[in-house]
Amino acid sequence: MAEYLIQTVGLPGWLTWSLLAVLSAVLILNLMAGGALVFIWAERKVSARIQDRLGPTRTGGSFGWLQSLADGIKLLAKEDLMPEGADGMLFRVAPYVSFCASFAAFIGLPFAFDMVGLRLNVGVFYVVAVLGLEVFGVILAGYASASKWSLFGAMREAAQVVSYEVPLGMCIVVPVMLAGTMDLVTIAEKQAGWFTNWYLFHDPFTFVVFWVYVTCAVASVNRAPFDLAEAESELVAGFHTEYSGLRWSFFFMAEYSSMFLVSGLAAVLFLGGWNGPVPIATLLGLSDGTGESTGAIVRLLGLANLLGKATLGVLIMMWIRWTLPRLRIDQVMTTCLKYCTPIAAVMFAGAMTWLWVFPGGVLNLDDGSRRPGEIREGWLEGPGGRSTAVSDAPVDDAPALAEIAEVSK
Amino acid sequence: MVRSGSCEAAASVRLPTGVACETQQVMGDKNMRGPAFLESLEAAVPGGVVGTNLEAIDPWVEVAPAAVADVCRWLHDSPETGFDSLQCITAVDWFEPDPKKAAKAGWDPHLELVYHLWSTRARVSLVLKTKLPRWKDDQPGVPPEVASVAGIWRTADWHEREVYDLSGVVFVGHPDLRRILCPEDWEGFPLRKDYEMPLDYHGIRGR
């Protein structure tokens, strides 16, 4: 893309690169902002349907799809109050910190084979690390609003999110172990083909780990039934009691985008990322069946797949929110420490033994080219490796790899 | 448990006066209203019972103000009566403000406390009444005093606070006698017949 601009259009080098950088940033930002808007509307409609009522119908056509826009304008117009005893700088900065945290995590999430902000080799690790930063925004907001209620909410939220990162990390290690790499793109590639290749169905242990992951994800994103921070029945509105107008909308956007992110991560790790349940692209002959197809139509199909799965995840979260009552703070902590973490650990051990007992997978479906036991890293493929967008460095330690292959057979 | 049959009555007709509706006070063989009950009460608290009225729709027993606590204690604790639940405490201000009617009225101004007791086991109710002077030794503004029964029935705690707040009766021995419905710094006792609404309260115009 850059070469094209420089040669044909003759733009100076630095302008093209900055243009491209801005373009990708805007793309991701819009995906997040657009996603948040759609989800706000979806939340109203889904909760309405669950509660046997209609939800917004008048704004913009019959389905009220402009409702989020109307909310946005209202929030923009509303005055940004700041309580008198508040710590000015921290109060203003807090929403942007939590917004940036969930925005930065989108860089690592692969939407289709080559549609990823930055193909990090430590993709999963990076996303989880940045997701942990969102709690800063909440803590600072709770402290800076100088009100007893918001401090209560911030305390509860911080304790909950920090403690739920432990089981979340453990659940993520299982698919990473199955794929042998932390690179999200490779993990998704490995689950190409029929849905039986998805890690969800890889073995009973990963199946359970998926559901533990869902619980921890719902908790770490602070959605009901774990939404202690904004428990309106006890505390008035948790940490964002004192916020209004645009700042409040940033918190709102951060919550929805991290919801989308967490379900996107679930899709990539367990549900085969951009690979659909039925490999239509391979059946139609558009791609070569190894999941790394580079055709434009196939990528769009992949994008549709991932967005569909992530949106399904978000809808499920909404569905849970409008049916289940809220847990008490000590029950939330007990589920984390006494239920999620031990189950995740046991399942991790189970998945490992399963891998050791059935290296090729029980059904031995694949032809051994994708044996999960071996490490399929881009640069370990050797000179004849796949032509990927990233140039392969000449690998001079092929003999060492052969030896590894024997060890692990 | 089906209760079959009831007093048949066609159109809305008045029962002849004087025939006490079959009051549930008559429970099984023990006639709680009967003389036997009054003798046992008299024996338990000598000088307690001052008067009775068994013909009224809700027959009641009048007790001397000083003996209220003892009578209630006996009624609560004694096995055969066992009134373990206090339904309601009411203060009635018998005072006719305008002199003309006061002359015709058959009673002299006084304050009357009415206790409604209920026994959950025997499913029987009892009404206790006691007469208090309107003001303590007749200085207007100083509420009369009577022993508190909050120790016997915990529900009396709030009921007595309400009677104190609205009708002005001080209950001696009450754990925390404060106004319950009106603001803490409200003057006067609203349910008194001669109560005047204050002109203003913290700047809010009263009348």
Partner: protein, 402 residues
């Protein structure tokens, strides 16, 4: 080293010094039912002491009662427990009729049973929905109000009002049922039956709901009696008392010819509980869960009563009878009557002096005593349990403050 510390008595071992906080919950708090202010003394999350402040909705109904005639007082009884206006009217009308030794016609009696039991269903629906709100789930509230709206439509056809009915009055009822009302009421009951199972699935057997309510706010039977609790709060603690069966003859006579069992747990199980979810393992008799479950059983009990009332009412031939004139003279004398209202036993004490205007009117409210037990229940619970316990008592501030 640790040995030295342990046996040195002078070392005052203090806990991590967390200073006590006085937290104000209400009066404008989303979870307190109406304007109730709770002052909590909390130590971290643990509530060590709680003190309810009431009186924000005090309209001195009793003082007004001394200036208007008995029948004119009916609209004030509507506004005491505004969620069960019908039952309030019934209580006051029966008290006055007891004083006037008045007997209403058979048709009026059956119609009163029908209407007051429908009122009980509507009130329990609000109690169930609001309790879901207190525990954080929003949907049951809307399901409950969807059904309550249908009942209010029926009431609107009968007496023209949806909240403050003044339909049952001294001497009978203000108007007879419009034609076709009974069929519509029958249709409502038909479609309401499966929805009760839906509520059970949504709340009663919901794991998180059970976790938040079972074993919380346990009220022992004798403490309930001592604090004068009544209604579902008393029956939730296992005390077998229901004024419709044990009350004054003039009130129990109203239910002659009706078969119903009191919804209370006797030796381990509720009446006819085969059709309802089992009691969860860690639910102790007298906790929030049992109070909630008793209300759900009473809804079904009231539905049976309404069906029987419909049959009895349509079988009645006689006229409905006229209520008394507005300025009817009340005989001298005092009378007290307690009726079984949805929240508990609502008592009216009335003193007449021969003129049309009563000398003294006193309303003994059930929520007033039910709330007084709150301080005892919330001792040592967590902050998140306070709305759960207040919700389980199902209090209405209009009735408490009068």
């Amino acid at each position: 080293m640790s040995q030295v510390i342990d046996d040195d008595p002078r070392i005052i071992e203090f806990d991590v010094r967390t200073d006590e906080m006085l937290v104000n919950m209400g009066p404008q708090h989303p979870s307190t039912h109406g304007v109730l202010r709770l002052v909590l003394r909390t130590d971290g999350e643990i509530v060590s002491e709680i003190e309810p402040h009431i009186g924000y909705l005090h309209r001195c109904a009793e003082k007004i009662g001394e200036n208007i005639s008995a029948r004119q007082f009916i609209p004030y009884t509507d506004r005491m427990d505004y969620l069960a206006g019908m039952n309030m009217n019934l209580g006051w009308s029966l008290a006055v009729e007891k004083l006037m030794r008045l007997q209403v016609t058979e048709k009026a009696r059956h119609l009163r049973v029908l209407i007051s039991e429908m009122g009980r269903i509507a009130s329990h629906l609000v109690g169930m929905g609001a309790y879901g709100l207190d525990l954080g789930t929003f949907s049951p509230f809307l399901y409950a109000f969807r059904e309550r709206e249908k009942i209010l439509d029926l009431f609107e056809e009968a007496c023209g009002a949806r909240l403050t009915y003044s339909y049952i009055t001294v001497g009978g009822l203000t108007a007879d049922l419009p034609p076709g009302w009974l069929e519509r009421c029958e249709a409502f009951l038909e479609q309401f039956e499966p929805i009760i199972r839906e509520y059970h699935a949504l709340l009663t057997t919901n794991a998180i709901f059970v976790k938040r309510t079972a074993g919380i706010g346990v009220l022992s039977p004798d403490m309930a009696i001592n604090y004068g609790c009544s209604g579902p709060v008393l029956r939730g603690s296992g005390v077998d008392q229901d004024m419709r069966r044990d009350g004054e003859p003039i009130y129990t006579a109203m239910y002659d010819g009706y078969a119903f069992e009191v919804a209370v747990m006797k030796d381990g199980h509720y009446p006819r509980d085969h059709a309802y979810p089992a009691v969860p393992a860690d639910a102790v008799l007298g906790d929030c869960w049992h109070r909630f479950f008793v209300r759900m059983l009473e809804v079904v009990q009231s539905m049976d009563l309404v069906r029987q009332a419909i049959d009895q009412y349509s079988a009645c031939k006689g006229p409905l009878g006229e209520p008394v004139k507005v300025a009817e003279k009340i005989p001298a004398g005092d009378v007290y009557l307690e009726t079984e209202c949805p929240k508990g036993q609502m008592g009216f004490y009335l003193i007449g002096n021969g003129s049309a205007i009563p000398w003294r009117v006193r309303a003994r409210s059930s929520s007033f005593s039910n709330l007084s037990v709150l301080a005892e229940l919330c001792h040592g619970c967590l902050i998140a349990d306070v709305p759960a316990i207040v919700g389980s008592l199902d209090i209405v501030m209009g009735e408490i403050d009068r």
